[in-house]
Symmetry: C2
Subunit: 236 residues, 2 copies
DNA sequence: TTGACAAGTGGACAACGGTCCGCTTATAAT
DNA sequence: ATTATAAGCGGACCGTTGTCCACTTGTCAA
């Protein structure tokens, strides 16, 4: 109820000009959390460290920890953030130096680089994926406020990148028309951290073999030209 | 300690001729468990039902439940078993009626049928996959004694089937040489229940679109011939 | 400086998955 | 029928994830 007697400012600035910035002590805690988590993860492995442990080691309550990070996955995402940014920049840079190449070549470059990146970050990425699917997170484009703004979900970005390159390749007549969004998703499925790890540890494939396989099927399956003189060796 | 006075049978039958058969009451419990689980799953969804609940509803202790099923995944596997057998037989039957077709056509048939099967069994299959990867089950060929003997892990079977068909296609000169084991794994990755569901619910792809996409990439990527006029009908 | 209030905090609590272990009982050999 | 024994049983118990809520404290505005 609005009380007319009170001197409510006319156009009261409901706009909430900018979100009250993070309290200083909170920021300090945040730092400590990341630090401690990084340390514990390094020492025992991501999977073996519980949120409770992290809270204790950081000498804060669980509630505090969960306030900042809804789950271990979120924490890992924050830890990864830096790497991701670097990766994204590198990729972006490479793309811009390679504009003169064929879209297919660019696509290949993106795939290979992404695979390497995922392969290097398996530990953290796996935790992310894991918690996401524990929560039935099958509604991928989730907002997730706790994430630094502007940092969209990473996989989404890669997806769009792949899709874009596929479209470009089609537009340039490098390949026949195809279902770009779904094809991008297929590629993404093959680069899923958990799957990657499974194939490496249980099947014993190494990264190069996987890259070769993906190349063989995709770059051929997409390409119109039957000959494969330019394709990398199947080498197995 | 062996007491020499006792008439221990000379070559005592250490062989344990056949495992003492399941006690009758235990068998009854098993039935009840399956029944109750099926019911609860149907009512609330697989994910929403806890082992504790199942035990309670079946009026047995948790220990009893866990004795038979190491986890929810195992229970679901048992529930699925029947369907799986039927599916396997159907597939086998179809394969034997289609021996005169090209290996590639057979491969296509297997892929399509498997996709449909997975799609129909998502609920249960998902629980299986989920628990398997919760346990870091990245060592797939796990023995898992609690499974009906002779019933190997299902995915393994499909994998071998796919691999075999790929090899056959290569041997017959239908396609260029490739890395059959890994290619089979790629296909399997795309048929993963969790991934399937994700793509359907989050991305909104329907099964036909996915089949079309996989066909486009794989049957083209593998095939030597650029045209695709010979590709089999969708037959559903 | 003061006070209001949202942001921040901590720890109790609950649900779930899963293990353990001591007791009971069906079964098979005697 | 008796008995040894392994199969079966139940529920207390543990660790983990995640929620809740009463309390404290930094911050901003007056």
């Amino acid at each position: 109820m609005i009380d007319a007697d009170h001197p409510t400012v006319v156009g009261e600035p409901e706009i909430a000009p900018q979100r009250r910035r993070e309290r200083r002590d909170a920021a300090a805690h945040r730092q400590r959390i990341l630090e401690v988590a990084r340390h514990l993860f390094g020492q025992f492995g991501v999977a073996a460290v519980s949120m409770h442990q992290i809270a204790q080691a950081a000498e804060i309550g669980q509630g505090t920890l969960y306030r900042r990070y809804a789950n271990k996955g979120a924490l890992c995402r924050d830890l990864m953030h830096e790497h991701q940014v670097v990766f994204a920049q590198d990729l972006q840079a490479w793309l811009s130096t390679s504009v003169r190449m064929s879209a297919l070549t660019q696509l290949d470059g993106v795939i290979v680089r992404t695979l390497h990146f995922v392969d290097e970050s398996t530990a953290l990425l796996e935790a992310v994926v894991r918690t996401e699917l524990r929560h039935d997170r099958c509604d991928l484009p989730h907002p997730d406020d706790r994430m630094p703004p502007g940092q969209e979900h990473w996989f989404l970005w890669i997806h769009d990148l792949l899709e874009g390159l596929l479209r470009k390749a089609v537009a340039r007549g490098e390949i026949a028309a195809l279902d770009a969004p779904y094809t991008a998703d297929m590629l993404l499925a093959l680069m899923n951290p958990m799957y990657l790890r499974f194939q490496q540890s249980a099947r014993g494939y190494d990264l190069d073999r996987m890259i070769a396989g993906i190349r063989h099927v995709f770059l051929r399956g997409i390409h119109d030209v039957p000959g494969d003189a330019t394709l990398p060796e199947t080498d197995r």
